[in-house]
């Protein structure tokens, strides 16, 4: 089922959480709402679910006006950041809940509910834990139970609010791959909220980058990463270095054009060399060298302006260069994206 969000506004007191947000989520896709905290992404998700009402604007499910229908009637599955499992119920009862609260006419029989719950337990690989209580499960297990509970009622839309936010890094990485595989199997239209750009890039079919209650850019992960529409998107999706200069959109040039511009360069797109091999390279002094797992992070200062710069080198390259703190080297940006100066991050 597709979701269409039309010009939604939402205020909490004086604070504008969403400013005229419009978005279409195509049927069957897995879409990430990505942004820093306070960007309005969770509010948007809760408005889609019906847990929050927009001040203005409308929500359409498959073209049908849904803005004023109750949460109950929307048939959405919602997965909360802190799981929100019913703490006094077993895993089995948690997953069965949505089926047992159905009106008597629609409610499946006990045997059918049991069958359905075990089918879901198998899907989340927790069949042997059916009789446990939420407090007896690990964070990752709880989140899978929460997902199974949401899927039990066969929702038309699956909404996930920072589903992996409260988990440690390793479990998070496992679970998001699992979510991706799950989505490839069941193809329910899904929207998930995250502030982790890596998670969004890895899991989503489409990414919607949000900032200060507005959508900055939407597109496939590759589009968003390779062709960021705004400086905000560029800097939110990874480490960034700024080169101030004057130029036209496209590349920074020596001060010929009258427009002040800023060149944005990712840390891993900066090449560090001992010899001057290319005329675009500039001189810089090495401030610090730090090994971070498979990468080496080098902090530099440009010789002419003193501006700070960060380069990420592979261990192999760093070992070959064997950089010493204090020495002078040449740095060359491999790929520069230019935005006019008046943009604010």
């Amino acid at each position: 089922m597709s979701i269409k969000i039309g010009s939604v506004n939402k205020h909490f007191g004086q604070f504008a959480a969403l400013k005229d947000v419009s978005l279409t989520v195509p049927s069957g896709e897995l879409v990430a709402l990505l942004g820093p905290s306070g960007s309005g992404k969770t509010t948007l998700l809760r408005i889609i679910a019906g847990l929050e009402a927009p001040d203005q604007g409308q929500i359409l499910f498959d073209g049908v006006e849904t803005t004023n229908s109750h949460v109950r009637e929307r048939q959405v599955g919602f997965v909360f950041q802190h799981y929100a499992l019913f703490r006094h119920m077993t895993v089995f009862d948690n997953i069965a809940f949505g089926l047992t609260v159905k009106p008597r006419r629609e409610r499946p029989g006990k045997a059918q509910i049991r069958e359905k719950v075990f089918e879901l337990l198998k899907l989340i690989q927790l069949e042997q834990l059916a009789d446990r209580y939420p407090a007896q499960l690990s964070g990752g297990q709880r989140q899978r139970v929460a997902l199974a509970r949401a899927l039990a009622v066969e929702p038309k839309v699956l909404l996930l609010d920072e589903p992996f936010g409260a988990l440690d890094a390793k479990v998070r990485a496992e679970l998001r791959r699992w979510l991706r595989r799950l989505h490839d199997e069941i193809h329910v239209t899904s929207v998930f909220v995250t502030h982790d750009q890596e998670e969004a890039l890895e899991v989503a079919d489409r990414i919607v980058v949000m900032n200060q209650g507005q959508i900055e850019q939407e597109g496939t992960p590759t589009q968003v990463y390779d062709h960021p529409a705004t400086p905000f998107v560029f800097s939110f999706l990874g480490n960034v270095n700024l080169f101030h200069g004057r130029g036209t959109a496209g590349e920074v040039q020596a001060a010929v054009e009258p427009v002040p511009a800023v060149g944005y360069v990712r840390s891993h797109d900066i090449e560090v060399e001992r010899q001057l091999s290319d005329p675009t390279a500039v001189r810089a002094a090495v401030h610090s060298v730090q090994t971070v797992g498979p990468l080496v992070r080098v902090e530099l200062a440009l010789a002419d302006t003193g501006a700070a710069l960060e380069a990420e080198l592979s261990r192999e390259v760093a070992d070959r260069l064997d950089l010493q703190v204090g020495e002078e080297v040449y740095v060359r940006p491999r790929k520069v994206t230019v935005f006019a100066e008046d943009y604010q991050i």
């Binding site: 048939q75 919602f78 909360f80 929100a84 499992l85 809940f97 609260v101 039990a152």
Partner: protein
């Protein structure tokens, strides 16, 4: 004694050795606490029972079987049986509204709920006399319709309800606020109705908190003196509750009977204490399961 022992245990497991007080100080503090406890709680309690049983079990039981005393016990039970369920319903509804929803005037409502705690019970009794008494606002109307509130059972029930109404709500509001709204929201997204959500999700999560609140509410309802004293009129065998009966008997120098009736309240206090300890422990578990 049992409570003190339990407390000490958790304390020593939670603190490292380096954080503990010197042994002497620790023992001194414990002794001071125990002496205080004995002087102000155990000795009076023992005195109540020893005075009540001074002339033997038969006199004790006879004192309790006295018709006026039996009437006082009945009235006290009736008052509690009306005011506790009403305050239970009110407390749960108020706590639910306050903890799970945002609305203007919320903090004002919380202040209102606390009002009976901050007003002297005698004043709360007087309010009803001013309202429903013969010289009160509604007095003439009530008399014209032959309705008796002041110096009758309805007045006692009203005063008791007023004095005891914060207990359940006060107990539940922090518990429900700590538990948050997410479970209720999850139930709603899964298609549950408001009532289903309340009975299947909210209520099981707060049942021990409710019990705790009800116990405190009941203890106060049965033991309330000031407010009830003002509205009761002290009519023997008809508008006397247990605490009022104790006072009357004592003023008549009927010490054995006075202490025998008082021992009922003391027993109630002991039962309350035990149930309260269990309920408190369960509430802590409910919170820990977050």
């Amino acid at each position: 004694m049992h409570v003190a022992g339990g407390l000490k245990k958790t304390k020593s497991t939670k603190q490292g050795r380096g954080l503990g007080e010197p042994t002497l100080v620790r023992w001194l503090l414990i002794v001071v606490a125990l002496v205080f406890l004995a002087l102000f709680l155990l000795v009076p309690l023992a005195a109540v029972f020893s005075q009540a049983l001074e002339k033997g079990w038969e006199t004790y039981l006879a004192a309790l079987h006295e018709p006026d005393t039996l009437a006082a016990i009945k009235l006290t039970l009736l008052t509690a049986a009306i005011s506790v369920p009403l305050n239970l319903v009110f407390g749960v509804v108020a706590a639910w509204g306050i903890a799970k929803f945002d609305f203007p005037g919320k903090s004002f409502l919380i202040t209102l709920i606390d009002l009976p705690f901050s007003v002297s019970p005698v004043v709360s009794g007087l309010i009803y006399v001013l309202l429903f008494g013969l010289q009160g606002w509604l007095g003439p109307w009530l008399q014209a319709h032959d309705l008796k509130i002041i110096f009758a059972v309805p007045g006692i029930v009203l005063a008791t309800i007023f004095v005891t109404f914060p207990f359940v709500a006060r107990e539940l509001i922090p518990l429900m606020e700590a538990q948050g709204r997410e479970e209720e929201e999850a139930a709603l997204t899964l298609g549950a109705s408001g009532l289903q959500t309340f009975f299947r999700v909210t209520l099981p999560n707060i049942k021990w908190g409710i019990l705790y609140g009800v116990i405190l509410c009941n203890a106060r309802a049965m033991g309330e003196f000031g407010a009830v004293s003002v509205v009761s009129g002290h009519v023997r065998g008809s508008t006397n509750t247990i605490p009022l009966q104790v006072e009357i008997l004592y003023n008549e120098y009927n010490f054995v009977a006075a202490f025998a009736v008082a021992s009922l309240l003391a027993l109630l206090a002991l039962v309350t204490l035990v149930v309260k300890t269990v309920a408190e422990w369960k509430v802590r578990q409910e919170l820990a399961n977050n």
